[in-house]
Amino acid sequence: MVEFLVVIYSGVLVGLRSLAEIAAFLIPVMVVIEFLKESGILGKISSKSKRVTGAFGLPGEAALPATTGVLIGLIFGAGVIMESRKEGKLDRGQLTVIGMLVGPFHSLIEDTAVWVALGASFWPFIITRTIFGVIPALVMGRINYIRSLGKGEKGSRLSLARGTDRP
């Protein structure tokens, strides 16, 4: 019985100590995220990232939801994505590309902070995650492009990125 209590006690101590380590990273990180959101910097980053999202075959409207999902988090990002979807500017293929980008590659700031606090190695983590987050999305973008060729639609990758996809 005493043995069991000791196990519980030591578990609590280990847990609390790790929590403190996580807090040391997480609190500053979430303050920064709040700043990014409230100050409109997130919006500015999103506009700058339009050229990048173009590489995936995504129109400019996708930049904000995609960037929000990637930097901040899935649930918050999903809300923004759903709003864009209601506005009707993104089709299923494009939404899937965003999903492939955001799924593996979201809560970047928060997740990285916690895993590094727990002991993961920063550069391997970030680089590998980026590679595997980006490649499926690129592939999907390619698939969308090839499909659009087959259907003879206007939404080809280059014209979307250049914004010349207009009648």
Binding site: V7, I27, R85, M100, G103, F125, T128, M140
Partner: protein, 139 residues
């Protein structure tokens, strides 16, 4: 934008997250350490070692992966902390789980936002496994 208000709001939100983390993590840490103490982890370890050795992590880490995939990273944090692993192993688990976690819930959310949920799910799982194998070879 009121700087102080934003800072306070961010700090407050982080406390909320930390509380959620604590509520999930600490019981898991206790459970894992108890399982280790009473020998259950060794059994799990022996069973999953062949598979886990692909990723270069101990057999017990299968618990972390399973929890991370099915429920969420918070549970996996608890397991990782409870087990104690090397930096390389933690990095591998971190990447594998960062790519694919909370799969049931997140796949549902992504589906609702209009993506092809099965495709995203497949992409994430495959990426996670390949990343684990690759990192094991590289690091």
């Amino acid at each position: 934008m009121n700087v102080k208000a934003v800072a306070f709001s961010g700090a407050r939100k982080s406390l909320g997250v930390l509380w959620e983390l604590a509520v999930v993590m600490i019981p898991i840490v206790i459970a894992v350490q108890a399982l280790e103490h009473y020998g259950v982890m060794q059994v799990i370890s022996r069973f999953f070692s062949p598979m886990m050795s692909l990723f270069g992590v101990p057999g017990e880490a299968a618990t972390a992966l399973a929890m991370g995939y099915l429920v969420g990273p918070y549970l996996a944090f608890g397991v990782v902390i409870g087990l104690g692993m090397t930096v390389k192993q933690i990095t591998i688990i971190a990447v594998m789980l960062a790519l694919a976690h909370s799969l049931p819930v997140e796949t549902a959310i992504l589906g609702k936002s209009g993506a092809d949920a099965r495709a995203v799910l497949a992409a994430r799982l495959i990426s996670s496994i390949i990343a684990g194998i690759l990192l094991n070879l590289i690091l």
